[in-house]
Amino acid sequence: MKRATPWLFLAPYLLLFSAFVAAPVLYGLWMSLHNWDQFLPEKPFIGLENYANLFTPGSAKAGPFWDAMLATGIFTLFSVPLLVVLPLGVALLLNRRFKGRAVFRAIYFAPYVLGVVVVSMVFRFVLDPNIGALNHLLGTTTPWTTALPWAWVSLIGMTVWWTLGFNAVIYLAGLQDIDRSLYDAAAVDGAGRWQQFWNVTLPSLRPVTVFVVTVTILASANLFGQSYLMTQGAPEERTRSAIMFIAEEGFQDFNLGSAAAMSYVLAMFLMALSAGVFFFFRKRGAA
């Protein structure tokens, strides 16, 4: 009985975890070893061929896959720093006492409640190079959605505008959690505003920051809706993200085995990246 108790406590979650996480993960691994078309009776076992295709330079699968990985990488590289730093600034401002604070908090958070479809469609027409409102107002012909690097500027800018509020709210909660007495003690020791921020605010926010960084990296690496709807991968599929390509491979071209292999490669990258984030922040904490 005693031995069963922990398992009984674990059971509800364990059941869901096995059914909806562990089992699909293993099933996906099994699929990735086959030429798996979900609607063909024969699903021949091909060993590691799906993986080998991805690592054969110049092959028809490797080229577009790594292009898509690169697109996701570029997006993540530029959007994550912005989405970690800017919301912190916004949160610091919104944490001060001033008239209409609640209104501003609502305004910054507002875009986040919009769906990706709404945001992307609105930006697509605002940013259209030839018939868009922005170029009309500026009197320019900048190809915001149809050429590089502008398409990235648009995608990252839109995503920052859209999701900044979410990270800001998390930071704001973190800021409100910091013990006031720490600031008082720092002030008594003669610390200025900047020193207080550097020595009290930032270290106190570390757990919140780890969360924000990790969640933002994963969200950025899952880039799909924005480029699917606003740029449609243009120009020339160069803003086609890894997830977009995997979805096409699996559900449009009916190559689920190959798509599963791609998902595993992407997952490996994300796991390594997340581990790196934890390692980075832990080391700083110990120092």
Partner: protein, 423 residues
């Protein structure tokens, strides 16, 4: 397996004869059949299809139809899944270029017996569209319509530029001089987009016009990197180089600009008839594509009736399916949704002739081209040729290099598909 299916279809054919004898209105058993009918008409064409279906229901009270629509993108992933799990519809409409993949997946069944019972032949339709619905000599689709691209012209823009809005250019010289004329009046007449809508459709039409083809007839090898392909893309690029088109045109921007009177011409599909027709204050006309290359040709696609495989085939339902397909394809009313009826009798009807835009498009029926039938071919094209067209139009890669590279990758993917589908 094959034998039992033949037997069952023979039985169904027998039932058809009995039914025909009854005259259709009153049946001795009075049994009702409710058919599930799927399609992707989520726009204004949905209600029009429903009206056609209701007309068939009215004529055949023993048949009831439940029509379900899903966006085409979703439709093509949902349909095979539903059929594989035994939850598929009885009958569905799909694009003719999707038929080979669905036939390979055994989602749809051969209709050779069905068309024999209905006595449908190539001559009852248009040859190109009829041939497109067969895979390896077996028929899988009964064509409902054709939706090619054509030349739309904004008449107001043409008049303002001093061009005759009633006689549209039909040759390369006429077209280019009209564009030059428009340019002189400050109008970029023909916007070239790097997207499949409309750039991809234009490229394929031009490829055929210059005497090329997408693939060899068996669809084992991509041939769009021929001289014809290079000429076609070079011509599209020349429109940008000569200033007849802006650079970096976004998706749908060419069509919106057409409605706004910012350009004069657009090579767009039949599906735009409804959109332009309902645009306030837009005066437009429609004509066959001008002949830029050496032969007249225009890209087209077609909605085809297909019949789903069932875990336990039901001859009575199949009989009702037959009635539905025959009734809907006969009707010229579908043309009002901006389509050219595939069936000759509907196309030659008085009702169809009254539809000016559709009739203008129908003039190019003998010149319409459809892609070869091979499973997965349209997906291969999408991930290779469509990108090459975009690269060339954006000027990020030389035309021949882009086409050669895409053809090489397409050949590799086609070989993988042959291995997978065992064709």
């Amino acid at each position: 397996m094959r034998e039992t299916r033949r037997e069952f279809l023979a039985a169904a054919a027998g039932a058809a004869l009995v039914l025909a004898g009854c005259g259709g209105s009153s049946r001795s058993d009075g049994a009702q059949v409710t058919l599930d009918f799927w399609n992707g008409f989520t726009g204004g064409d949905g209600p029009q299809m429903l009206a056609l279906v209701q007309a068939v229901e009215k004529e055949h009270p023993e048949i009831r139809v439940r029509m379900v629509t899903a966006r085409w993108e979703d439709f093509y992933t949902k349909l095979p899944a539903a059929v594989a799990s035994g939850e598929g519809p009885d009958v569905a409409l799909m694009h003719v270029d999707q038929i080979p993949t669905n036939a390979a997946h055994r989602t749809i069944m051969p209709l050779d017996d069905l068309v024999r019972d209905l006595d449908l032949q190539e001559d009852d339709f248009a040859a190109p569209v009829w041939r497109a619905g067969a895979v390896d000599g077996r028929r899988y689709g009964v064509p409902l319509d054709m939706h090619p691209i054509g030349l739309y012209a904004n008449q107001q823009v043409l008049s303002e530029a001093g061009l005759d809005p009633e006689s549209l250019p039909t040759t390369r010289d006429e077209y280019e001089s009209a564009l030059e004329e428009l340019k002189g009046k400050g109008v970029q007449g023909h916007w070239v987009t790097p997207f499949f809508f409309t750039g991809g459709h234009q490229f394929m039409s031009l490829l055929w016009q210059f005497g090329g083809d997408l693939t060899d007839p068996e669809a084992t090898r991509a041939t769009w990197n021929s001289d014809a392909g290079v000429e076609a893309l070079e011509w599209m690029r020349s429109l940008i180089a000569k200033g007849y088109s802006p650079r970096n045109v976004g998706q749908d921007a060419d069509s919106i600009a057409f409605k706004n009177g910012q350009n004069a011409f657009i090579w767009n599909g039949a599906w735009a008839i409804g959109d332009y027709g309902s645009t306030e204050g837009l005066e437009w006309t429609l004509a066959p594509l001008p002949k830029i290359g050496s032969v007249a040709a225009a890209w087209s696609n077609s909605h085809n009736f297909t019949v789903m495989r069932q875990p336990t085939p039901d001859p009575q339902r199949l009989e009702a399916v037959k009635v539905l397909i025959d009734g809907v394809t006969r009707s010229p009313a579908w043309a009002e949704a901006g389509q050219i009826p595939a069936r000759r009798s509907a196309r030659e009807s008085e009702a169809f002739r009254k539809l000016e835009a559709q009739s203008a498009l129908a003039r190019q029926v003998p010149d319409l081209r459809f892609a070869a039938a091979a499973p997965g071919l349209s997906d291969v094209r999408e991930s290779t040729l469509d990108i090459a067209v975009a690269q060339a139009i954006n000027g990020s890669r030389p035309v021949r290099e882009a086409l050669d590279d895409s053809a090489r990758r397409a050949n590799e993917l086609l070989a993988l598909n042959r291995e997978k589908y065992g064709t």
